[in-house]
Symmetry: C2
Subunit: 208 residues, 2 copies
DNA sequence: GTCTATAGAAGGATAGAC
DNA sequence: GTCTATCCTTCTATAGAC
């Protein structure tokens, strides 16, 4: 592949990423992608054959980028508390720089769940879960988090970080009414979310 | 309007609801809707003129149904703690019976934020917020929740309830790997989420 | 490798009979 | 009110020249 090829293929890929993020698979038009890449439609097919293949390439790249961001949860050598603070800081910052990714991925996976299974094919979730459980066995015991509550805890943490982006249209719509800037809210959220989760974990007075 | 009219119009509306929930505005086909309603395409246009108008009718109905479910937050005469427990119970139960609604609404609003502004035109969010603040002034003070943390708290509660449905494809994909049933998870979540939030609120040892 | 031109299919919408 | 037939536009995809 020559240098010119690569430039064109990359321009197409970048244009496609932009259009798919904006319009989704169903709403995207090959013509829009060609226009944005400053080439003609025929070239799209020369490089990627079909819209579907172009989409799959874009989707895999984006999804890989997003899901890899969850990796530190499993391999950082940190206390549970530090890990939670680290996660909210890093993850919300990443999404502030890539605010369209969550809604895109959630929607395309809901529309076609097979896409997610394909992504997870090489990943042993059970193994990760057991690893996590081992890493924080003592802390979870101290916080009185039983084995079957780990999914509840993890999904809560993910929700608090990702949902503002998944519901961005609604959040921004509400925030503009109360003069709250979305990015200010997100900056505050890094600390608020971490404090909130840790407070809940450390409070032994309710439930169970 | 005769009785027969109403039956047909309703059949169309119900079929359209089903198809739009599954495929979204862009992915839905008028032919699919006609097939599901057991009529021909021409009748769709007779009753609703365009795909766009049919979609708007369906969207408004669904969105109204969903957002009205948040109303008890503002007018129930309950303590903050009871209100939180009540909300998670009722809201998650409602979404268990209507699991496709959140992803549909979030996606269509992200794709076209004007839809949300239109829905909120008659609603004074500031007024609701102030009402809520008044109702729970003492409790919020006792929990050390300052005025500008109310959006953080409310979005956290919404996230914990709605996100599992918004990310249903991912959650179900992960859960099937660890032999966890999505509905069992949701049943547990009603209590877990309420306990979690209340524990966080009542713990004064961290932050600020 | 890139372009123009166009095929071919699909989808939204309408005309007109009943 | 409901149907069949069809128009017209849009979109993906390909053929073929350069």
């Amino acid at each position: 592949m020559t240098e010119t090829d690569k430039q064109t293929e990359e321009r197409i890929f970048d244009a496609a990423t932009d259009v798919f993020l904006d319009k989704g698979m169903d709403g995207a038009r090959m013509q829009d992608i060609a226009n944005r890449a400053n080439i003609n439609k025929a070239l799209l097919h020369y490089y990627y054959r079909t819209k579907d293949k172009l989409f799959e390439a874009v989707f895999e790249k984006i999804a890989g980028k997003v899901f890899s961001r969850f990796a530190p949860i499993f391999d950082e050598n940190l206390s549970l508390e530090d890990k939670i603070r680290f996660f909210f800081n890093e993850h919300i910052s990443f999404l502030q720089n890539n605010p369209r990714l969550p809604a895109f991925i959630l929607n395309e996976i809901n529309r076609n769940p097979a896409r997610f299974r394909k992504l997870m094919n090489n990943i042993d979730i059970n193994k990760l879960w057991i690893m996590l459980e081992k890493q924080h066995k003592e802390e979870l015991a101290a916080y009185n988090i039983s084995r079957d509550m780990i999914p509840q805890l993890m999904t809560t943490i993910a929700s608090m970080s990702v949902f503002p982006f998944a519901a961005r249209g609604i959040f921004e719509g509400i925030f503009e009414r109360i003069d709250l800037d979305f990015n200010d809210y997100l900056d505050d959220r890094k600390k608020f979310a971490a404090d909130f989760v840790i407070k809940a974990l450390k409070n032994r007075e309710i439930g169970e």
